[in-house]
């Protein structure tokens, strides 16, 4: 676990907090429970995700933070044994309502995974994948434009503009992860879920992705799961602490890192967790 002095945390937090945050609630989870077969992984989680903010989910391994994240775009549906109870809304619409089309939902709530997973296709095709399946490009030129904008937003365009038609798997780990972010952006989602997006990257690539996350906040709502306390402090405006399947506490990141209400949060973020 990362050991961090409280002063370092404080300064990291203060660097990030500027301007008045938008308080519109984009996604709302109420009494969310998740079961994998007989085993319950998440217990009655109430958590709001605010628009144009970065919400960090922290907690020790196996605490349910990734499980909660995967509920937000119903990726748990792909696991046969998983069952979700409770209510999750996106813009006050219940996303588990049978009338909701899960394909449409996932186009609105995109996802970036822990390990960069570009498709074994060219860089261009990787980014164009989403727009193609959703029919976002009317003309041929549209697609080129979407790909270019997405790659630019992901801060990758300058590095790859001369080799758009080379395989995406040939990029470095950090570039691959930014390619995956570009791929997620290309379908113009409203929310982007990131499941430990930097855990497979070196510190320099991590810094690039973190910068990117901060830029993306202007246009997207972001939920990020992370194991790195510094990362949560650096990129997020709000933090939610999970433990053993329960939401321990949730609040503004600077408050969470300087003056948490719960003893467990205090222990965890200072690295004293047993």
């Amino acid at each position: 676990m990362n050991i961090m002095t409280e002063t370092a945390l404080e300064s990291a937090v203060n660097d990030k907090m500027n301007g008045t945050p938008n308080e519109t609630i984009k996604m709302r989870g109420r009494k969310v429970c998740v079961f994998y077969g007989e085993k319950q992984a998440l217990f009655d989680v109430d958590l709001d995700v605010r628009e144009n903010q970065v919400t960090a989910l922290i907690g020790p391994s196996g605490c349910g933070k990734s499980t909660f994240l995967r509920c937000l775009n119903r990726m748990n549906d792909t696991i046969d044994s998983a069952r979700v109870a409770g209510k999750i809304t996106l813009d006050d619409e219940d996303i588990y309502d049978p009338k909701i089309d899960v394909v449409e939902l996932r186009a609105r709530v995109g996802m970036v995974f822990q390990k960069p997973n570009p498709f074994p296709k060219s860089i261009f095709e990787n980014v164009a994948y989403g727009p193609r399946i959703h029919g976002l490009a009317r003309k041929k030129g549209d697609l080129d434009e979407i790909v270019e904008t997405s790659l630019k937003k992901a801060g990758l365009f300058n590095e790859v503009k001369d080799r758009l038609h080379e395989p995406g798997t040939g990029l470095s780990g950090g570039q691959q992860q930014r390619l995956c972010i570009a791929r997620a952006i290309a379908v113009s989602p409203e929310v982007i879920l990131m499941d430990e997006p930097c855990s497979a990257l070196d510190p320099i690539a991590t810094a690039r992705v973190e910068e990117l996350i901060d830029e993306l906040r202007q246009n997207y709502t972001i939920v990020i799961v992370t194991h790195s306390m510094q990362q949560a402090a650096r990129v997020s405006q709000r933090t939610a602490m999970f433990h053993m399947g329960y939401l321990v506490e949730e609040g503004e990141t600077d408050k969470m890192f300087t003056n948490p209400d719960d003893r467990r949060t205090q222990d965890y973020i200072t690295g004293r967790f047993g």
Partner: protein, 488 residues
Amino acid sequence: MSLMLVFAAVLAIGAVAFFVGRQRALVQDDGKVKPHSRAHYHGWWAFLLATMPALLLLIVWGVGSNVYLQEHIKSQLPMQTADSPIASEKLAASLTTSLANGLRRLDPQTAANPPASFAELQPQLAARGVALAPDTQDYMIPIAVDANRMQDRLSLIGAILILAVSIGGATLGVSHVQVRARARNNVEKLVLWGLLGASTIAILTTIGIILSLLFQTINFFERVPLTNFFFGTVWDPRFAAAGSGGSEGQFGLIPLLAGTLYIALVAMLVAVPVGLMSAVYMAEYASPRVRAVVKPALELLAGIPTIVYGIFALVTLGPFLRDLSAALAGGTGFIQAQSVFTAGLVMGVMLIPVVSSLSDDIITAVPRAMRDGSLGLGATRSETIKRVILPAALPGIVGAILLTASRAIGETMIVVLAAGVAANLTANPFEAMTTITVKIVNQLTGDLEFNSPQTLVAFALGITLFALTLVMNIFALYIVRKYREQYE
């Protein structure tokens, strides 16, 4: 002493060596010096030293003494001439050997001093259930008795030698046991040689098969020009009439090759789409419970002997298709009972499990991250399969298809029964064509003299088929291997 007894004795000595060696190693370990190898390695090393050289000698001695005995018998037989009652020396020697074996069935007294004439001896042997050729000669009896005596002596000497080697090995192995002795490395080295030997057997067999085909093929091409075989469009081997000079037939490969590839093509057209789709269903859609039932059921198809498929094609599907086409067209049907279509259809069904099981493995091997990535972007399952999973798995699937194709080309029993024997060169799938495998069966099973081109052509066909499937398999393996590297 019989071979089995010697063998058992060697194993027993080995077992003793194992326990003694292990015990010795355990006793020597006083806890001061760390032993190099654990005790059981010392035991195994003693076991291997006790058994391996002895068993090797057993094999060599067994083979060697037999060869020696044969030579001994031959040297004692009188010269065979054209007017002696037995035509060849070889035959005389084999008669004597059977006689010697027969004598062993009699009680030792009689066996040592059998009656001098075969006429007297035969009823005694017959009473023991030994049937011998009636032209066994009287002069063979003393030779056979002598041969038996010699065999007894040889096997006794052999047994003593083998047991001596075994005991020597055991002593050596046990005396090797020391705290720092490297028994583990020795055992590992022998295991390596054992494994190497096993894989060599497979390779040597392949080489043996190729050579046995090759020599007969060369023999064939000495009689029939290469162009006749490879570029001939007519298959008409005729019968080898004894002494007729103009019996050379036409051995055109083209119609057979065309039939082979045509039927394989029809089979692949059935097997690939069905097999692939069932693989996709199994890998991507089926719940574990459905998969647990459907997958074995599908693979059961692969367990049906191909001759059964052939029977099905011959008696059920072929006549059905003929009648169906007759009903559709009115009058005579356009599908013959034996046709490319029928054979291909049934062969295709046979190949479905091959395609589906290979592709299923390949599709399942596509990382979950690919699926998640696509589903997370809002792609549906079928879009994910079509645009991400199948392209990612494509090289592997192509490899699987090539492997299947080489099975289709080499398949024999279905086409023997369902495709017909007429070597037509036609593009109409509803007519009978024949394949290379069918012709191999025909040419080898007929009442033909072996040493005629009509029979030898089977070997030329066989080696052609072998080369064809070998190239396809190598190509398929190359593709599959290239694909495997992709996710590393």
